[in-house]
């Protein structure tokens, strides 16, 4: 959970970081004329202008990203407001024992988190790929451009606004969707309030919001497929479908693999903004996830120690998953993210 704002990170961050690391690698001294390594002090003095410009940014990272790491110790402490973070007594792994063995609540929210995340991957991940392939087949440039722009639109709205839209559209009494289903004789469905349908609602509304925006990366990959391959395919008499199957898809497979692994690396993120705004008491058994739990129990009931432990668990597992995913990407011979 990253405070609503940064949660809107425009893409997975692929490439940029990779690039950052490559550039760093390049700067190692290449041998040659340098005889004596100048002292750190002298290098720093020589480049003081540029170092000075870096200071405000570093300060920002120290205060807003590194200082909170100090608070992680709360996961191993019995937090008392009067004693503060450092003065509170240590309790070892008590919070973790409470979480895993104390009640059914944590296993339930952990399971919910993983299930919802998996559903998003299974159904939500292939959707933009399929749409990108379809966009790619459109002959009319203008039609393609207009429909692409329309499909990006929901990405730019907050889940607060979309919750307002969805409540109206999915309402059992007045909603258009149930009205359409009614034409086929289907009884009204409480998409937002029925535990049987709620995860389905999450997945479909997630696809609806992000499918268009998700095509961008794949469309870029499709645009860079060598046209000679298609020419050769046409000479060999391959139909459009065969060309898609044997030329297009294999060409963008590396991009798909990297995106999939990154998505799996983010398995602990089940979509706080979406769930927090769409869910209600009726569906909390199927929709309560790690992030909503931390907010409700941590901020709401002042259980700082316990919920810091939940956050730490989530971050460590997420971090390990990313490293694993990155390792897998590299094993495949692709560029990883770090």
């Amino acid at each position: 959970m990253s405070f609503g704002i940064s949660a809107h990170n425009p893409s997975g961050g692929k490439g940029v970081i990779q690039h950052a690391m490559e550039q760093v690698a390049k700067q190692t001294p290449q041998g040659g004329l340098v005889m004596r390594k100048p002292s750190v002090w002298r290098t720093y003095r020589k480049h003081r202008g540029i170092l000075l410009m870096l200071v405000p940014g570093l300060l920002f990272y120290v205060i807003f990203h590194y200082a909170p790491l100090y608070g992680i110790q709360l996961a191993f402490k019995d937090f008392r407001i009067m004693d503060g973070i450092s003065g509170s007594p240590w309790v070892g792994f008590d919070h973790f024992r409470t979480l895993f063995y104390g009640s059914d609540q944590f296993p339930l929210i952990l399971r919910n988190t993983l299930i919802i995340s998996f559903l998003h991957i299974i159904f939500g991940f292939p959707a933009p790929i399929a749409l990108a392939l379809l966009f790619n087949e459109i002959r009319s440039k203008l039609f393609k451009r207009i429909t692409q722009s329309i499909s990006y639109l929901p990405h730019f709205l907050s889940w607060v606004v979309l919750a307002g839209l969805l409540t109206t559209i999915l309402s059992p009494s007045e909603g258009i969707l149930n009205y359409l289903l009614g034409l086929f004789g289907v009884e009204p469905i409480y998409f937002m309030g029925d535990p049987h349908y709620f995860r389905f609602t999450l997945v479909v509304s997630g696809i609806w919001k992000e499918i268009g925006w998700g095509t961008i990366v794949y469309l870029a990959a499709l645009a860079s497929v060598d046209p000679h391959l298609y020419e050769a395919g046409i000479v060999d008499g391959a139909s459009r479908w065969k060309q898609t199957l044997h030329i297009t898809i294999p060409s963008i497979l590396p991009v798909i693999a990297v995106m999939l692994l990154l998505r799996i690396g983010g398995i602990m993120e089940a979509g706080f903004d979406q769930i927090f705004n769409l869910s209600n008491a009726a569906v909390s058994n199927v929709a309560d996830i790690l992030d909503t739990y931390v907010y409700r129990v941590g901020i709401g009931q002042f259980q700082y120690g316990l919920t810091t432990a939940v956050g730490l668990f989530k971050n460590v597992v997420g971090f390990l998953m990313l490293i694993l995913a990155n390792y897998a990407v590299k094993k495949m011979g692709q560029e990883g993210i770090f």
Partner: protein, 293 residues
């Protein structure tokens, strides 16, 4: 060369049909909402499709405009979007510039120091306590300072700076300009496209943000638009709704449906209106970032 077989023509027809239907599904909710917001109470709850109001009424908008809190939210959202974007652009560029220079001492360390924060964070509670401890609770600064440098934007800007040939700066430096002068007078003017893209991301993020307001702000005078909407629509706060509808019992000029729809329209319309003109910048930024690898 562009001759299509019969099968391909049929496919094209179905493709265009499918994509059109999909776009209709993307746009319909907005049309529906606009129509409901302009409807009389009876028309608003009519089942079935709403493309335009059969019985027209502007009352919901009148009540919305008369309600003070939505304007307070609007004002604060504009303040954070303008101030937050300006400060962020300055900070992102200022930090990205040194990181783009090969000769920055210990450059790999500083880069790693920053990139690490993308993958590991303290979590919600430690961050919450930090904000509390440094006195940002209930201050408008809490909207701006913690999101001053989005790391993804920083890396994109840094990549852009690295593409600018050093020779352009060399002449300025020979004339005696320092790093900062050369940054302001040579690099920034060349970076307008990336500044526009990153700035627009920042504006949209500020416009859509609500969680920080919910966590850190109690003072109703510092509420932001999305938080107001959340109270009205998601948490269904009756007090807010009744105050906004402001009508005697039994008299029904507006209903919760129409008033919510109007509030949603008023706060989303700015994005819907400017969206067609700026969306290409968003896409451009993504491509600068992801194809660089």
């Amino acid at each position: 060369m562009n001759l299509m077989t019969r099968g391909e023509r049929v496919f094209q027809v179905f493709l265009v049909l499918f994509i059109t239907l999909m776009c209709a599904a993307m746009l319909y909710p907005f049309v529906h909402l606009l129509s409901v917001s302009l409807s009389t109470p009876a028309e608003a709850i009519r089942p079935g499709p709403h493309l335009y109001p059969l019985e027209f009424s502007l009352e919901a908008y009148r009540k919305t405009f008369e309600y003070g809190l939505i304007w307070i939210g609007y004002r604060n959202t504009l303040i954070r979007a303008a101030g937050g974007t300006f400060i962020a652009l300055f900070m992102i560029a200022l930090t990205a510039y040194p990181l783009s220079k090969r000769y920055l001492p210990h450059r790999s360390f500083y880069t790693l120091f920053i990139v690490f924060t993308m993958f590991f964070s303290g979590g919600l509670i430690p961050t919450y306590m930090l904000i509390k401890n440094i006195g940002l609770m209930d201050s408008m600064w809490v909207y701006i300072l913690p999101v001053m440098i989005p790391t993804f934007s920083l890396l994109i800007m840094r990549n852009f700076f690295m593409e600018i040939p050093d020779e352009l700066e060399d002449s300025a430096k020979i004339d005696g300009a320092g790093d900062f002068r050369s940054f302001v007078s040579i690099v920034l003017p060349l970076s307008k496209p990336i500044l526009a893209t990153v700035g627009l991301w920042q504006v949209v993020n500020h416009w859509n943000a609500w969680f920080d307001a919910m966590l850190y702000i109690q003072d109703p005078g510092k509420i932001v638009l999305q938080m107001f909407l959340r109270k009205l629509i998601v948490s269904n706060e009756a007090q807010e709704l009744n105050a906004m509808m402001n009508q005697a019992p039994g008299v029904e000029i507006v209903t919760p449906e129409t008033i919510k729809a109007a509030a949603l329209m008023v706060s989303t319309l700015p994005i819907l209106v400017v969206y067609p003109f700026i969306q290409k910048y968003f896409v451009k930024g993504i491509l600068v970032g992801s194809l660089k690898g």
